[in-house]
């Protein structure tokens, strides 16, 4: 559905945010994983017609996005990473206003859309409250509600779970899951579990390039039998780093659990049933080493 070809972007200050990105994204939930500063938001904004790339093309369902941004905007739902609201405006008013901006100008349609979305995102009871006073979870639900106005085919959700507590995050992911398979939904995040829980397809973006692409299960399968772990004292971690290809370290009960990548089992290490997190960290660590 969404074809991204040779997309590069360099900011006026010289930062290269995207470097020859090629992606082909079908219908359904698509996870875009990457650390902070990987270029995720630039990519999301570029797809959302908010930025003109230096080079490359984006085609959605046969539509040249860069040439006719307004046509894409009619089919787009976008929840930016960080968004604010007008002061002294209630959830209902704001959704209503956004509905007009999205083109639903008929009064009856608008009422139906706004009220349905408020119901579906469970914001009906607070519809007349100012959004500025919402908690994080409520605010993100409002965000997804506005993104869904006008039944868009392309939904871009940029870092939606950052700052939510576990319960809120869980609820929000459930909500995303309900959007359905008929639409292209791009979920950009730096949290591995978001992708693991939701996305049948994913890519890892780092340093402005696509590092890895595929089904999470396939990617996990590739690391099977290559990830090993051990538990060391905190001050021994540096020594391990020197001798092994360390993917990640994590504290547990005052000691450090170290995951390493190796084709054979190193002495004193036990095998790990590799998860998506290991895939992700392995990719990043290879990238770091290459740099």
């Amino acid at each position: 559905m969404l074809e991204i070809k040779s997309l590069s972007h360099t900011y006026p200050n010289g930062t290269q945010a995207l470097d020859d990105v090629n992606l082909s994204i079908p219908r359904g939930m698509y996870g875009l994983l990457g650390p902070n500063g990987a270029g995720k938001s630039t990519l999301m904004r570029t797809i959302a017609t908010l930025q003109t790339p230096s080079e490359g093309s984006i085609v959605f369902d046969g539509l040249d996005v860069l040439a006719e941004p307004d046509k894409l905007r009619r089919r787009l739902g976008y929840l930016p990473q960080d968004f604010g609201v007008y002061p002294r405006v209630s959830a209902y008013q704001m959704l209503d206003h956004m509905a007009v901006l999205k083109g639903i100008t008929a009064k009856g349609d608008r009422k139906a859309v706004v009220e349905t979305l408020l119901e579906q995102t469970n914001l009906w009871a607070v519809r007349n409250k100012s959004i500025a006073g919402f908690s994080g979870g409520m605010r993100q639900r409002f965000g997804i509600a506005q993104a869904l106005i006008g039944d868009p085919d392309l939904i871009i959700v940029d870092e939606p779970t950052a700052g939510l507590d576990p319960e809120e995050r869980n609820r929000f992911l459930n909500l995303l899951a309900g959007i359905g398979d008929e639409k292209v939904v791009i979920l950009s995040t730096h949290i591995v579990d978001d992708v693991a829980d939701l996305c049948p397809l994913m890519a890892v973006l780092a340093g402005g390039r696509v590092q890895l692409e595929g089904k999470p299960s396939d990617l996990i399968a590739q690391t099977r039998g290559k990830v090993w772990k051990t538990t060391v004292e905190h001050d021994a971690v540096e020594a391990v780093r020197e001798s092994h290809d360390v993917i990640s370290t994590r504290l547990f009960a005052g000691k450090t659990i170290v995951h390493v990548l190796s084709d054979t089992q190193p002495a004193g290490y036990e095998p790990v049933e590799g998860g998506l997190e290991d895939v992700y960290f392995a990719t990043l660590s290879q990238l770091r080493r290459a740099a």
Binding site: P12, R45, A48, T49, L50, Q51, T52, A67, E68, P69, D70, R73, R74, Y78, P80, D82, F83, G84, V85, Y86, P87, R88, V89, H97, M98, V100, L101, K102, G103, I104, T105, A106, D109, A112, V113, T116, Q120, T121, N122, L123, A125, V126, G133, S135, G137, M138, R141, Q146, L148, I149, G150, D151, E167, E168, R171, N174, L175, G178, I179, G180
Partner: protein, 1198 residues
């Protein structure tokens, strides 16, 4: 610890943009006040821009506006912690409350004081600018800058810091601190305006006005220019008290802040706790139900209605702006300033004014221009950046909304706010009218003259502000650009460049008058507004095309986007239509201002005048024939703004030499001549640029020979001008004087460049001084350089207007829709007169064989009866004391308020709509300046229109000085001697103020040189003293004898000494002769004051002793004073009210005795029946007194 907190505060602010922006703005303020010669502190010619006096005033005035900045520094120190959420961490430290409060305060105060250094620095740099007139800059002395910085800068900032610190502590809100400070500034301005009009309160005001402006003006009130240029304002007496008072108040405010400041966070109120609990419960309930999405949503229709989006955006923008807290502050501020200017609005001589529609609207309009700009600039930035500031831009920008549906609603919202403020101003104006006795409200005029034009202006500025912000990389840069644009327009205007085709949103000014309305001037304003509106549409298209969308903020990226996506047909077409309209309107404007009319920048005008002088002033002394008879046939077409005059002058050579060449000046710039024919002479030179012709007689005109000049002239106002609208002929009123439409014979000094700086710039001597008193050759011409003529004027105008010209009206008839009247002078009149026409109401009164008339605009009848009374009183006095009045009529004619003066032509006195007709003088305490001015102008019917002196030093003695004296005598007869103090004091104060501004040299009355403060002010005042000392009858006897001798006499004209000698002939003692010399031939000043008094019962009477101090000085032309011996009879009196104030009159006088007063201290004893409450020496200010306020005091007051 306090030091460390203060140091942190200092560092914090030094890094903030607020500090640097305010530094820059106040540097500009200081710079502008010295570098620009259009702004003059105190407006005194001889006081240097960088004198200690000017710098003290400048520093004090700047400190008032600095209040707004001080808030940012000190209030921030209090509010910052809570606002940033850092408070808990700060308060958890072991810093004590005292350390915190004092540290933060000290830091904020120091930053503010440091920032204020920008003012003296700016003033210093400004005074160094090469274009500043070197005569206006004195030696650069560091203490001149630093002393006022300390006494008025630092002390005021300490006071202000403490006050605002306390306010911020109490309100805990930046916004409310600002509201409070705005209210304070407005309140301060209102209170000071009120108090400065009431001299009784001055000493109190000087002591307790916390910003020290009152004590400053009190201290320097009677300083000479020399002192102002060299003396630091001393910190003593009231000034010292006042500065200590301010510091004390400051300390008090810091104490209040300390008392109210709390280190611990306030616990939430019970209500708030309940509210929070409710909110939490609600959120939990909502969270508990798992949300589900599903079902097919409603998609947008194929074609989206952009109009509906536009409407929704507009509604949202308007709602947001109306709810914004700053709006009410701005509206209140605007209303505050308007109210101050409306209620403080003064007509002539400081009297209140009746609210005419035009005047009220002018006041409102004038005050609002700057607010409109501020509002447009401020909200332009806020609105354009609102989505980005609120992080909403990504959501909104990714919606299918065209840019114009974002841009235009923002312009509309800004525009709407401007309209709201305008309407508020209009309501304030109406309220003022309703409470001040308006005859007419003029709602339609408000809409047509103010609301509509100001709406277009507002829209233009709104578009500019929005477009600049849309293109600007950030909000502050955008504001900076708008400020720069605004300053540029001021600079350009100061450079005299006024072509509105090249100054955005500029249009020719529309002067307002009840008599004419907006008149024909609206055409120019409307055309230019349409022209700029077309340009604004083009700008709006630019804003639409380059609207910042999403993350592409750099202009290069936006241009790339435009290249990629194209501009679109709609915007292209709109821009094209706008540019075509602009071109058309521009061409029409060009045709009007450059083809139909002449356009010159002020530099070009100045150069033209200078070149004229360089080329032709050499002919000034050329002997020319005089004009003896004038016959004019003037055809006025008001609707076409056209005047055609056929005229005939009879010329006669009254000299003793033959005249070969006749020099003729065409007069005004707007006149054209179809012909100027002179019998027996040929045109030999015609300088069209300067309108200067030379004719040569075939046979030189022999002494005593006569000839005739015939001419046809026309003034035809067409279209509109870039600036300086032609106001003499309008469809409703006409007021033209003969110099504008008829030729003048020979060269004289009228119409030459007179600004000293301009003259020097043009390489001319800085001033043209008149002939010396001893130069007898100057007696060939009189003060006005015009002749005595017999006149016969026929004026034809439209039938619905009244034609008026000097002379007895011998016929008046209407035929074919035209009205013709003929006026013939019964006695010689000066060849200087006006013709007027208009749709007038006429009030009439027969006074003996003289018909008195007042021609006025319908509704302006407040003072008409008073004017008729004044004419009767004046004529009675003058005929009894000076001699016969020469006409059978006297007419006062109202003319539009385009100019504000009254003028005396032969028997006809044009009097401006802006003064007199609208002055309010009917309260029991009001001073009747209307009668005073009428008496003055009628006085001129004798003094100028019967006798006129030679054009040389002292020539104003028998014109202006005597008219002033005459008016004072009329007032004395009307109100009684005891009421005279207010008039004498008025003239005295203006004389004292005037001599401070003297740039060349002060001269005694017999030698004065066109110095208004001497000929009007000192002149009338000292003649009143002469009349008091010598007796009115004796003085008037000399005057009437003088008139008899010189009445209607041509060359050689009399000199001031001839007049003084006539008076000296009446002197009967050495003391009187000495008095005449002192007052008329020298510059003498006195200083009388009461230094103590007491009164006690003595049987059934009261015994009062009064201690006085007296001194007498002689001054030279530069104001240097030398003490001289004093021995003169001076009045000392006992009163039951303060002389000259309120309703003081005869009944308040217990006793008024003339005593011999010598210089130094002396005590006088009096016995009276009644108990006195006030005592005074020279209580009516008959003498020229350096300080006239300490002459009368309450019993016991020192």
């Amino acid at each position: 610890m306090i030091g460390k907190i203060a140091a942190f505060e200092l560092r914090y602010h030094l890094k903030s943009p607020t500090f640097w922006v305010s530094l820059f703005l106040f540097f500009l303020l200081g710079y502008g006040l010295t570098a620009s010669d259009s702004v003059q502190i105190g407006g005194l010619g001889a006081v240097k821009e960088n004198s200690p006096y000017s710098l003290a005033i400048l520093t004090g005035a700047a400190s008032i506006f600095y209040l707004l900045v001080v808030t940012a520094f000190v209030a921030n120190g209090i509010i910052r912690d809570d606002a940033s959420g850092f408070a808990p961490m700060v308060r958890a430290t072991p810093v004590t409350k005292t350390q915190m409060v004092l540290g933060r305060f000290t830091g904020g105060f120091l930053v503010a004081a440091l920032g204020f250094l920008a003012v003296p620095l700016g003033a210093f740099v400004g005074s160094l600018m090469p274009w500043v007139d070197p005569e206006m800059v004195g030696p650069q002395v560091a203490s001149y800058y630093l002393w006022p910085y300390l006494t008025h800068g630092v002390v005021n900032i300490f006071f202000a810091s403490a006050l605002l610190f306390a306010l911020a502590t109490i309100t805990r809100s930046m916004m409310w601190s600002y509201v409070a400070v705005v209210a304070l500034v407005v309140g301060y301005l209102v209170v000071t305006t009120v108090i400065s009009g009431n001299p009784e309160l001055q000493p109190t005001y000087a002591r307790f006005e916390p910003l020290g402006m009152g004590s400053l003006s009190e201290t320097v009130r009677y300083w000479t220019p020399f002192e102002m240029n060299t003396r630091l304002v001393p910190l003593e007496g009231k000034m010292l008290f006042n500065r200590l008072f301010s510091l004390g108040l400051g300390v008090l405010f810091v104490a209040i802040a300390w008392w109210r400041f709390s280190m611990s966070e306030k616990p939430a109120s019970k209500r708030r706790v309940r509210k929070l609990a409710k909110k939490k419960a609600r959120e939990e309930k909502i969270a508990a139900i798992p949300p589900t999405l599903g079902g097919s949503g409603i998609a947008a229709p194929e074609t989206i209605s952009h109009a509906a989006q536009f409407m929704a955006r507009t509604r949202l923008e308007i709602r947001q702006i109306l709810k914004s807290p700053g709006l009410s502050v701005l509206v209140l501020l605007a209303l505050g300033f308007t109210a101050t200017s409306l209620w403080g609005n003064q007509s002539l001589y400081g009297t209140a004014a009746y609210p005419t529609v035009a005047n009220t609207i002018d006041q409102v309009r004038g005050n609002f221009q700057i607010f409109i700009l501020i509002i447009a600039a401020f909200y332009g930035g806020e609105l354009v950046w609102r989505e980005r500031d609120n992080k909403l831009n990504e959501i909104v920008d990714s919606a299918p909304v065209p840019a114009w549906a974002m841009t235009i609603p923002k312009i509309i919202a800004v525009f709407l706010v401007i309209m709201l403020v305008n309407v508020a101003g209009m309501l304030m104006g109406l309220f003022y009218q309703a409470t001040s006795g308006a005859n007419e409200f003029g709602i339609a005029q408000y809409v047509g003259w103010f609301i509509l034009p100001s709406a277009i202006d507002g829209a233009l500025i709104a578009v500019l502000a929005v477009v600049i912000q849309a293109l600007s990389p950030n909000k502050y840069a955008g504001w900076g650009i708008i400020l720069a644009w605004f300053l540029a327009t001021i600079v350009v205007a100061n450079m005299g460049y006024s072509n509105p085709l090249y100054i955005y949103a500029d249009s020719p000014s529309v002067p307002l008058s009840d008599m004419v309305g907006v008149g024909p001037y609206i055409l120019g304003a409307f055309t230019l507004q349409a022209y700029w509106t077309a340009f604004a549409v083009f700008l709006a298209v630019v804003a639409h095309v380059l609207w910042p969308r999403g993350g592409d903020l750099a202009l290069r990226q936006r241009l790339r986007r435009v290249r990629n996506n194209g501009i679109g047909k709609g915007p292209m077409a709109t821009a094209a239509v706008a540019l075509v309209a602009m071109a058309g309107l521009g061409a029409f404007t060009h045709y009007n201002i450059k083809v139909l009319n002449e356009y010159r920048t002020s530099d070009e005008t100045e150069k033209l005048m200078a070149d004229f002088e360089k080329k032709y002033l050499k002919y000034e002394d050329l002997v020319q024939p005089i004009v003896t008879d004038v016959k004019l046939d003037a055809e006025l077409f008001p609707d076409e703004r056209k005047l055609v005059v056929n005229g005939r002058f009879d010329l006669e050579n009254d000299s003793d030499q033959p005249i070969r060449d006749l020099h003729v000046r065409e007069g005004g710039l707007d006149v054209e001549y179809d012909r100027i024919d002179i019998d027996g002479a040929k045109l030999v030179s015609n300088d069209e640029e300067y309108g200067y012709r030379i004719y040569r007689f075939e046979q030189p005109l022999a002494p005593g020979a006569k000839t005739v000049m015939n001419f046809t002239s026309r003034i035809d106002y067409e279209g509109f001008r870039a600036s300086g609208p032609a106001t003499s002929i309008t469809p409703d009123t006409t007021f033209v004087n003969n110099r504008a439409f008829s030729p003048a014979i020979g060269m004289d000094r009228s119409g030459l460049l007179d600004d000293r700086q301009a003259r020097r710039r043009q390489g001319l001597p800085p001033e043209l001084r008149p002939a010396k008193l001893e130069d007898m050759s100057a007696t060939r011409k009189n003060a006005l350089a015009i002749d005595w003529v017999n006149s016969d004027i026929t004026l034809t105008t439209d039938a619905d207007q009244v034609p008026i010209a000097p002379g007895n009206k011998v016929s008046d008839m209407v035929k074919d829709g035209r009205r013709t009247a003929r006026f013939v002078s019964p006695a010689p009149i000066l060849h200087f007169f006006s013709i007027q026409s208009g749709d007038y109401e006429i009030a009439e009164r027969q006074h003996g064989d003289i018909k008195l008339q007042v021609y006025y605009h319908e509704g302006h009848d407040w003072n008409v009866e008073r004017m008729l009374d004044a004419m009767e009183d004046s004529l009675d006095y003058y005929e009894a004391n000076f001699g016969d009045y020469q006409f059978d009529y006297a007419r006062i004619i109202e003319f539009p308020r385009y100019a504000t003066f009254a003028q005396a032509f032969a028997g006809t006195m044009p009097y401006s709509e802006g003064i007199g007709f609208t002055s309010r003088v009917d309260g029991p305490e009001d001073t009747d300046f209307i009668t005073y001015v009428v008496a003055h102008e009628l006085g001129h019917q004798y003094w100028a229109h019967q006798v006129i002196g030679a054009g040389m030093q002292g020539d104003a003695l028998t014109t202006e000085t005597m008219a002033s004296y005459s008016a004072l005598m009329v007032m004395k007869n009307r109100l009684g001697d005891d009421q005279m103090r207010r008039f004498l004091k008025y003239e005295l104060d203006r004389y004292l103020r005037g001599r401070k501004g003297e740039a060349i040299e002060e001269l005694p009355l017999v030698r004065m040189e066109n110095q208004a403060y001497i000929h009007y002010r000192k002149g009338g005042h000292v003649w009143a003293l002469l009349a008091h000392r010598m007796g009115e009858d004796r003085v008037n006897r000399a005057l009437s004898r003088f008139i008899d001798k010189w009445k209607f006499k041509g060359a050689p004209y009399h000199r001031s000494v001839d007049f003084v000698n006539e008076l000296k002939a009446e002197a009967t003692s050495e003391a009187e002769r000495k008095l005449i010399e002192d007052l008329l031939e020298k510059i003498v000043l006195y200083d009388f004051k009461v230094t103590g008094s007491k009164t006690e019962r003595d049987g059934d009477k009261w015994r009062t002793s009064v201690t006085v101090e007296a001194a007498k000085f002689e001054a030279d032309g530069k104001g240097k004073e030398t003490k001289v011996a004093l021995a003169e009879p001076v009045e000392i009196g006992l009163f039951t009210a303060r002389p000259g104030f309120g309703t003081f009159g005869k009944d308040d006088v217990i006793l008024l005795d003339e005593r011999a007063v010598k210089d130094g201290k002396a005590t006088f004893e009096f016995v009276s029946e009644k108990k006195p409450t006030y005592v005074g020496i020279d209580p009516y200010n008959r003498y020229i007194d350096r300080n006239s306020d300490d002459n009368a005091k309450m019993i016991g007051e020192e």
